[in-house]
Chain length 432, copies 2
């Protein structure tokens, strides 16, 4: 290894934010990755570990020495540490835990006891608290005397003698208030505590809905066990939206742009398999009408139009429904109104496109009756599309399933089957 | 109006968070909405205005009196006010602006001068600043003397004599530090300022990438003009993800669950129109092979399978690409590797499904050659799907267009055309 190259590399990377270094490491290939880390060598600043996605991080963990990992993980807040290790393989997890001081290690191990995707995994264990009788002056003196405050905290949590949170006071407010004022007299209105076993999706919803910056986390007895800050909620919120988008397209929520060809192929196979089954199902419907098609080949030319329009209209309704369920804008109190809207919008657009495609059919094939068949089946399929697009995700949600997961396959199956059946069926009845 | 009912309503709503009141108002129908607000009457707490989506908010603005609006908008931070009024019709906007005190009105009007979706619209104008020579004690005394600090601030911005930000000091750090320490000696590392004309998407990216809580906004001369906080960035980030999801499904980014049937129909029409054109295009391709289909009707039964599998595989690649472009995980440095991955994954899944569907074809129709034709066209279409799914969004991004906007139509057109053409073309060549 040329020492000059190493020095230049260290000099180049020194001012770069760990998140940008992580992006760079993700975007280069595996061989270049190993070369870079080897060249960087013993003085590596492995802060970027916290910013890497899982696959690449596992690769990098195997290259780094225990000492390099130790330097990166000390002095980090416990929520960051939990995020780092929770999906690691056992060996790598041990390597990180061993590098922590006793208090941090215990805190991280305790957090890992809570279920995945729960508030217990998101929270920072180290909370700045004050008893109810403290004044602003007491709080300031306490903080000045303390030598390891968390990196990120925005409120002081006020607790009662049984360690239950009774309120929060914003730092900005403390600083703007004379020393003698009691903290209990300046608490924010409407304290919202988070149960430690609440799902992270619910936590993110609460932060977003109520514009929270920080919230105390409590155990089943209402005692303070940690605190969640807005940055953690922001990560969850983004992941949730991404997950819905990926699932609607039939992708695993875990799929990453750095996955290998083989992983990508394997992850996409199941959904394509589901789609194959639904496509064969649609083909079976078509096969009922082989005689009709043999008599009028124009039907084979036109039938994908009806199915495709229904599929698109269904996907529109479905996406609106999945998103509205995720943001909780679609609930029992407006479900009827939304279903009605989707069906009527399907009907209106169905009528509009029935006229357009009917005219196209007449001009193209010179058969007015063919235009009528096209138009009627278009209306039928687009109404059904609106209905299926909204009812299927609502049904899945009611059944406790993820509405984004399988709705797409169900909805397009319905629109394909109804599209082919209504078009070919009507054609057989009216044209033969 | 029964006074008893009014009192009970006020009592019920009093402890409810404005965001939840807004959700309730959105979920009931227009008539119930008007009745509720009328019953609530003069003592209405219109804080929920800031939480309503645009359509319902416009409706509510017409019901509320200027006095009710005035109470709700006073004492709010300027970024909230800009968010409230920026999409309002002129008359309603005037009503809000007139209710503000002079300083706030000027600040809001100045923010509205900046382009839509820019940092200038997101920022809070009221910033807590300190000159470089101040100590912790100076800052605390200043804040104690000040009577209108912003609701939300987490850092004090340190400015030089020309009003340029030189650093930020966290509130938590100030409180933990003795009075005599100079602020300039305790600034956070790596100050990131945001140009006032930066797009809100770029602002959200920076907050997410660099885990920022607050960032100073500067004008073209580098002078401080405002500050953006993480909660604003969180809103933008969620909107961006939602927008991509909606656009991929052919929905307007503006569509809301509370839109009327007519608005919904009108907003979905254009994309369905685009889809009709592409579907007709696919039909034209099929019409080239009318003679082939007339000879072997089984082709009409099976052809949707090839097109549908290609469409799904293309949508998978497309969604990955659109998401990765949005999060900037797909860049010039890994584009080649990702394109190669998509094509190879398409090839491998194409081969797997070619075997499966080939066997199905043979069993179903008893023709080995038909199975071969199905298999070959499946491989071709899935490779093309991978290629189109990744290259089309990259191309749109390079051309300065939104990759989520039109990619879906392009990709499915490609997979339909290639699917029908390869299957029917091969069938005509090998089976007739």
């Amino acid at each position: 290894v040329a020492e000059g190259a190493r020095e230049r590399l260290i000099e180049t990377l020194e001012p770069v934010h760990p998140a940008d270094i992580a992006d760079f490491i993700e975007q280069i290939g595996p061989v270049e990755r190993r070369n870079l880390l080897t060249l960087w060598g013993p003085q590596i600043d492995a802060d970027f570990l916290f910013e890497l996605e899982e696959g690449v991080r596992d690769e990098v963990m195997e290259i780094l020495s225990p000492e390099q990992i130790a330097v990166a993980v000390q002095e980090r807040d416990t929520d960051d540490l939990v995020y780092l290790v929770e999906d690691m393989e056992e060996e790598a997890q041990e390597a990180v835990l061993d590098a922590l001081d006793e208090a941090d290690r215990v805190a991280v191990e305790q957090s890992l006891q809570y279920p995945e995707d729960s508030a217990g995994r998101l929270m920072q264990r180290h909370v700045v608290t004050a008893p109810q009788h403290w004044t602003v002056g007491d709080a300031i003196d306490f903080m000045r005397a303390s030598d390891d405050l968390p990196d990120q905290f925005y409120d002081i949590v006020i607790i009662d003698p049984r360690h239950k949170p009774v309120g929060e006071v914003r730092l900005g407010k403390i600083m703007a208030t004379p020393r003698w004022v009691k903290l209990a007299d300046m608490m924010e209105e409407g304290l919202r505590t988070i149960p430690v076993d609440q799902t992270s999706a619910d936590v993110a919803y609460a932060f977003n809905q109520y514009h929270m910056i920080q919230a105390p986390v409590v155990d089943e007895n209402g005692r303070l066990v940690g605190v969640i800050t807005i940055d953690d909620a922001m990560d969850v919120l983004e992941d949730e939206a991404e997950e819905d988008m990926m699932r609607l397209a039939g992708l695993g929520a875990e799929e990453e742009i750095t996955d290998s060809v083989w992983e990508t192929t394997r992850q996409r196979f199941p959904w394509l398999g589901v789609n194959l089954i639904t496509a064969v199902f649609a083909s079976i419907v078509i096969s009922f009408f082989e005689d009709t098609i043999a008599a009028i080949v124009a039907l084979a030319v036109l039938m994908p139009i009806v199915a495709s329009m229904g599929g698109n209209a269904g996907t529109q309704s479905l996406t609106v429904a999945v998103r509205a369920l995720a943001t909780r804008d679609l609930t029992g109190s407006n479900a009827y109104r939304v279903v009605r809207r989707e069906v009527l919008a399907g009907l209106l657009n169905g009528l509009a496109f029935a006229v357009i495609i009917g005219v196209v059919g007449v001009i193209w094939f010179g058969s007015p009756m063919l235009g009528v068949v096209l138009g009627i089946s278009m209306v039928i399929n687009m109404v059904v599309a609106g209905l299926a697009g909204i009812l299927i995700p609502i049904g899945l949600e009611k059944a406790g399933a993820d509405p984004a997961l399988a709705s797409g396959a169900f909805v397009t199956t319905v629109t394909d089957v109804v599209g082919f059946f209504s078009f070919l069926g009507l054609a057989g009845w009216l044209l033969l």
